[in-house]
Symmetry: C2
Subunit: 425 residues, 2 copies
């Protein structure tokens, strides 16, 4: 049995552009992982007739409609009315919903305004959906023909938890999805998605394995899915032994970012890093410290934006800057080496470049940068050119530094061209 699912998002804040709807994308991803199908996403304004019209349209093609939003306490929160009208049930107070509301406010020492009690009114006979992260419970109504409407809070943190804990298990059961979908894959840095796509086709993977890509700049994510675990594993091992793709795989996990991967590796090896960032201005440090536990591996760093700071704080010889320019391999090397020594880290990492939009020259156009990594035994630098907008150049440069660190850590510096040397902007 196949189950088709649609999402109905409500609320003027989506249609007037104040909010980007990310809840439907969350549903799409979760269903896709399970091999289930989202058939429509529809956004409708806060108007009872329009909402009901939308629901009827969606139920022509979907068995399950998930609604997002409209459960708040104000007059324009109409989802309760829509569902009660849709199945012909009146709204009644659910004691469990009221108790949750009262507890929620009491725990936060806030006064429960009587208008908030509207949120405890649910269609009679509906199944309440608990909302641990917020005040308004959701609910599920079933129509006489078996089609259902699951109504969730529109606040992403609340929506996701309600979807995961209550709605997804119901959908899986309806779909009879007792089959386990097996999943494997990898994440790559340094090849455009189109190139990865072409190379994967060349691999000649088992037919029963479904391949999907996602570009999350500057990472490319590759996921193999299938019911036959052996075939999925074969696909994964074919990928890992591909001479064209494997050098650019930084993790065989399907849900680990590059900063996350490197942090985990450093923590495992009990190693530390120190940063010297010029054109990225702290972006790499910020990406690493966004992850819990960063204090275990990141000692600190220097944002060496001006030449004075490079000289004074990082002890880069002024002659080096005068001879080669601040954006050069020798300066990147000195920055990495000196920040490592100053902070006593296992690795020093440096980035110096021209992020743009101005500051480029014929010899060193905007998008030129150098990354450096120093360890106890070596100092490596790479020249890169990535022509793009300022913040993209900065992100790419931070990733290139992580890539050089990965190659130094695992001793595979010569394995294949360094990503930024082969990028065709």
């Amino acid at each position: 049995m196949t189950t088709s699912i649609a999402v109905l998002t409500t609320g003027s804040e989506i249609l007037d552009g104040r909010v980007v709807d990310t809840n439907s994308n969350y549903v799409a991803q979760k269903l896709s992982e399970l091999g289930l199908k989202l058939v429509r996403v529809l956004a409708v304004d806060d108007n009872l007739d329009e909402l009901l019209g939308g629901l009827h349209y969606l139920h022509q093609v979907a068995d399950v409609v998930i609604t997002s939003g409209g459960l708040g306490p104000t007059e324009d929160d109409l989802t309760r009315d829509m569902s009660s009208r849709y199945v012909g049930a009146k709204l009644v107070e659910f004691p469990e919903a009221r108790a949750h509301l009262e507890q929620f406010y009491a725990a936060r020492k806030r006064v429960l305004d009587p208008s908030n009690l509207r949120q405890a009114l649910l269609p009679e006979g509906s199944q309440m959906i608990h909302n641990p992260n917020g005040t308004a419970p959701g609910f599920i109504v079933t129509r006489s023909d078996g089609k259902i409407v699951c109504s969730l809070s529109g606040v992403p943190r609340e929506f996701k938890r309600m979807f995961d804990e209550t709605v997804l298990p119901i959908i899986v059961e309806r779909a009879g999805k007792t089959d386990v979908i097996h999943r494997a894959g990898a994440r790559l840095f340094g090849l455009p998605e189109s190139v990865v796509g072409k190379e994967v086709v060349q691999l000649g993977l088992p037919k029963s394995v479904d391949v999907s890509y996602r570009a999350a700049f500057p990472e490319v994510h590759l996921v193999f899915k299938g019911l036959d675990k052996e075939k999925v594993d074969i696909a994964a091992s074919m990928l890992r032994s591909s001479p064209t793709l494997s050098p650019y795989i930084f993790t065989n996990s399907i849900d680990q970012t590059f900063p996350h991967y490197i942090s985990a590796q450093l923590a495992d090896r009990n190693e530390t890093i120190a940063l010297a960032e010029s054109c990225t201005g702290g972006y790499l440090g910020s990406a690493i410290t966004a992850l819990p536990g960063a204090s275990q591996l990141l000692l600190g760093g220097v944002i060496a934006y001006s030449n004075e700071v490079k000289v004074r704080e990082l002890k880069v010889p002024l002659e080096l800057i005068e001879e080669h320019g601040a954006v050069s391999a020798p300066v990147a090397g000195a920055m990495a080496c000196n920040v490592r020594a100053a902070l006593g880290a296992t690795y020093g990492i440096s980035i110096t470049g021209i992020a743009g939009p101005t500051g480029g020259s014929d010899l060193k156009p905007v998008g030129t940068f150098f990354v450096g990594v120093a360890s106890a035994s070596t100092t490596e630098t790479k020249h890169c050119l990535f022509v793009n907008e300022r913040t993209y150049v900065q992100r790419y440069a931070a990733y290139a530094a992580l890539e050089l660190l990965r190659r130094v850590m695992f001793g595979n510096l010569q394995k294949s061209p360094f990503p930024a040397e082969v990028v065709n902007p």
Copy 2:
């Protein structure tokens, strides 16, 4: 005459979750600015019958349907077929479209595959929409009842330009919108959106002025719109003289972020900054260097993540850390003061705190942080508590540091409670 507009997004990458649809949000914002109304957004899979069904559903409520995506050269790019079927016109090659394709490929020294020529086939009698940023032109078809379908590329950079240059002027003309909408507003930091909303209601603004909010954490954006410029200006000046709101307004511009505002002010005053970031790990530096021209004002900084770096690189006395802890006002003060002195900046800015999820104590729970700003004449610090997830604490802390800088720069330190002191998490 009112014109109602709907968006139809096509493509499996939206319904399987690989891509978040941002094009419809762009349309929503642009229309909202002009006082026009987006009535539906619908996402449909790449299937001709489903696409046509979606188009018919949308045209029941909208005069103009804008489609996004499905103009590529592959078999599942069906927008051309959909529109030609919808108005009963056959697809013919448009010489202008073919010339554009050929030039596009020639300019990039790429070979034009014959399959790409599909992109030059448009419904006979349609109006071509030029796509300067990509290969596939768009087009506009008109049905016998006057309703129109505007088909644009789904690539955001291409979509936006095609929408702005061709579709928006047509919509404005259809809507008879020759009226100029006047706009004014402000951006705030340090008050929750709900508090701003309540306070704005208290102001008693002119009735003809439309008020809209947007929370872009941790900023709250407030925009007044109306046809009567005088009334809009009155609303803006009422906001600016509000004793409860004005202390939290950091800019009277409606499109300037806090880092952008502070950078512009520093550049105007020819002043420079140096950063000492602990728990934010480079986030503030990254936010400032994301903007072009940062080298004019940011000399550099120290990511003082470990105590050793605070002592060694920032010369924070070890006794100060031992006596008060690394997360304390005296240490924040010393960090700001010493980074200013070391780098020779007009202002030194510091952040030290516990971003979580671990590391908190009863006395200093997760979310506790101190910000400091040092100038030639003063060193100010503020204690803050913002209980939230790690990356939110980091963003809030970086903004609190900017806020302290703003108060030091403009000498209004005593004007009102410092934001993070009044936040109720």
